[in-house]
């Protein structure tokens, strides 16, 4: 089908909003972003197929039928997105239950190694002076 400007703009807005939400730290916002992105992709797939009458033999002439394949792919993608949304929600809830917030923290080990680097020490204890000092 010929690209429809409304479609294209809606897809663009969904993608842009989705990306900016995914960049947030709070898991709930990331989840929202993922849903928006998923919907954007679904519309994009729909754009790839031909529009027309329902793809059932006998309802109309064969040439006017819509392409059913993108619709099937979108259905599959919707199911997958639904499952992922449920999982992310559970993850966010668990995170909130464990630590009182749903923000994704920096890696603990990363921070430790960064501190070591700032103090200009080797990691582990192969540095002999450091080893003695620990003892």
């Amino acid at each position: 089908m010929t690209p429809n400007l409304v479609y294209v703009v809606v897809i663009g807005v969904l993608f842009a909003a989705g990306v900016s939400m995914v960049l947030e730290r709070s898991l709930t916002r990331v989840l929202m972003g993922m849903i928006l992105l998923g919907n954007g992709v679904n519309l994009l797939i729909l754009l790839g197929g031909k529009a027309g009458t329902p793809p059932i033999v006998g309802l109309g002439p064969d040439e006017e039928m819509a392409d059913p394949l993108p619709q099937i792919m979108i259905l599959t993608a919707i199911v997958i997105t639904l499952g992922m949304t449920a999982f992310l929600l559970a993850l966010a809830y668990r995170s909130w239950a464990m630590s009182g917030h749903d923000e994704v923290q920096d890696d603990v080990e990363d921070q430790r190694i960064m501190q070591l680097a700032e103090r200009d020490e080797g990691s582990g204890t192969d540095d002999k002076d450091h080893h003695e000092a620990v003892r």
């Binding site: 898991l27 790839g48 993850l91 080990e109 070591l116």
Partner: protein
């Protein structure tokens, strides 16, 4: 023999359903999982035999013929990957059963673990066998969903934190992959890989490059290629040892497999070759520098995992047959060795109580068996002759030298440097954890002997890794054969359609 092709996907899925119904009956669950995975391994071996001696095996799922329905294809590359991955999953399953028994099931809640593990296997095998881009996507999703559950199993604070990063990054890569699929369908009107070959060739160059870039981006995140790799060392080490081991062995390699498949079949001609080579170099060097800085064995191994993905890109980016066959050999080697090392790290954690290097010491005296189980794969990873790591790297270096360009030479230098730094990194682990006088925190005496069910699969994988050297000749031949049929795309198309694509 075509009826064999769907079995590696169907059997684990069926086993997953069965084990889910047997929740609360650990013994029955174990029997089912072990039977299913053993059967998968046997079927994969049969597939490898038939696909190397004869044409690739093709099955049109549900009897719908190729461009309409979905096809599953077991060619040499897919069958080879199936054999290695099912061997590794079987060993890791035995290991996790051993660990579950030893720990009183704390680390691996059995009722969820077995079904999820089998679903993960089904996803991996489905991705290898897929002859259709959308089916490849579904395979990825199956294995990713299972991996989310396995990574956050138990739901401790640490795993939830690490799991969040992993889940979000993986979801993002899936969205990018799906977008690429939507664009490819819009541009060509098909997703069947064999049919895409011709239709993609007919597209304008710029459009093809965009589609190629989108796919590479999606697979690059999954394969942990350098600028997209930082999620991996943060998330893998927090999971239970067997889970980390199977992730390290398989998940990134599925991404690499997808890169090899699309780069050779859909987008030949090496328009992205230079990019792949540069990324390969950066992945190797930066990954291994990260490994040198770590003070935890599991994290260190995660960084070596990222680093050695670079070798695979090196082979793929050369776009010569020698490069490709070396990369295929290296994938087999790397799956085996990286899994073995993570299993050994699990044993170290069991024996020494930790994987932090400053809390370990004197393990060589405490447990000589463990020392051997760690040392052999570690030397193998670093590429000490006569192990398979050396043979794989030698093949890549030869392929790079044969190419003779500036970039391949840079890659050769980077590869050798990475190999040396890998040796330094694992030697550091060896010195600190095994040879140093132990700090007081290490439990001594025979109070915590290693469970035999954990040692045996690790030993089996160590032997498999050493055995790769023995069978290196035939294995390289299979890799060579796979590479030549990958380079000659009509081979794949003919297997699906007989004549030309409709």
């Amino acid at each position: 023999m075509n009826f064999l092709v769907p079995l590696p996907v169907v059997m684990p899925l069926f086993g997953a359903a069965l084990t889910l119904m047997m929740a609360g009956k650990p013994r029955a669950q174990r029997t089912v999982s072990l039977t299913v995975l053993t059967a998968t391994l046997l079927v994969s071996c049969a597939l490898l035999y038939f696909s190397t001696t004869d044409a690739p095996l093709v099955v049109a799922v549900g009897g719908w013929s190729a461009p309409l329905g979905i096809v599953l294809i077991a060619d040499q590359l897919a069958a080879l990957m199936l054999v290695v991955s099912s061997a590794v999953t079987l060993c890791v399953l035995v290991y996790s059963i051993g660990q579950g028994m030893a720990d009183g099931h704390e680390e691996t809640p059995l009722s969820v673990y077995h079904p999820t593990y089998l679903v993960l296997t089904a996803g991996v095998t489905n991705a290898f066998l897929a002859g259709d881009l959308f089916n490849l996507y579904v395979g990825f999703e199956i294995l990713l969903v299972a991996s989310y559950v396995l990574l956050t199993i138990g739901g401790t604070e640490n795993r939830i934190r690490a799991g969040s990063t992993y889940v979000v990054v993986s979801l993002l890569s899936s969205v990018i992959f799906l977008t690429a699929i939507g664009l490819i369908y819009g541009a060509t009107g098909t997703l069947n890989l064999a049919q895409l070959v011709e239709r993609l060739d007919a597209l304008p160059d710029g459009l093809r490059l965009i589609l190629q870039g989108m796919l590479l981006l999606a697979f690059g995140i999954k394969a942990a290629v350098f600028p997209l790799s930082s999620w991996l060392p943060d998330s893998y080490p927090t999971a239970p040892a067997p889970v980390t081991a199977v992730f390290a062995g398989l998940l990134t390699k599925v991404g690499v497999y997808a890169i090899i498949r699309t780069e050779t079949l859909l987008f030949p001609g090496g328009r992205a070759a230079a990019v792949l080579l540069i990324l390969g170099l950066l992945t190797m060097v930066i990954g291994i520098l990260g490994a040198v800085a770590q003070s935890d064995i599991k994290r260190l191994l995660s960084f070596t995992l990222v680093s050695h993905i670079g070798y695979l890109l090196f082979g793929v980016g050369l776009t010569t047959q020698l490069g490709l066959s070396s990369a295929i050999f290296y994938v087999v080697h790397h799956i085996t060795i990286q899994t073995t090392l993570f299993l050994a790290a699990g044993l170290i954690e069991k024996r020494g109580g930790s994987t932090a290097l400053d809390k370990l010491g004197g393990l060589a005296k405490l447990s000589p068996v463990l020392a051997i189980l760690f040392l052999i794969p570690a030397l193998n990873l670093a590429g000490i002759p006569p192990f398979s790591g050396f043979i794989g790297k030698l093949g890549l270096v030869q392929a790079g030298v044969a190419d003779g360009g500036v970039l391949p030479w840079l890659l050769v230098a980077g590869g050798i440097l990475t190999s040396l730094l890998t040796l330094y990194a694992v030697a550091r682990v060896w010195n600190l954890a095994f040879w140093r006088t132990p700090p007081k925190s290490v439990p001594s005496g025979s109070s915590s002997l290693l469970p035999p069910l954990m040692v045996a699969p690790t030993m089996a994988l160590v032997l498999l890794g050493v055995g790769l050297t023995v069978v290196a000749g035939p294995l390289f031949e299979v890799g060579d054969q796979a590479a030549s049929s990958l380079m000659e795309r009509s081979y794949y198309v003919q297997a699906v359609f007989g004549g030309g694509a409709p």
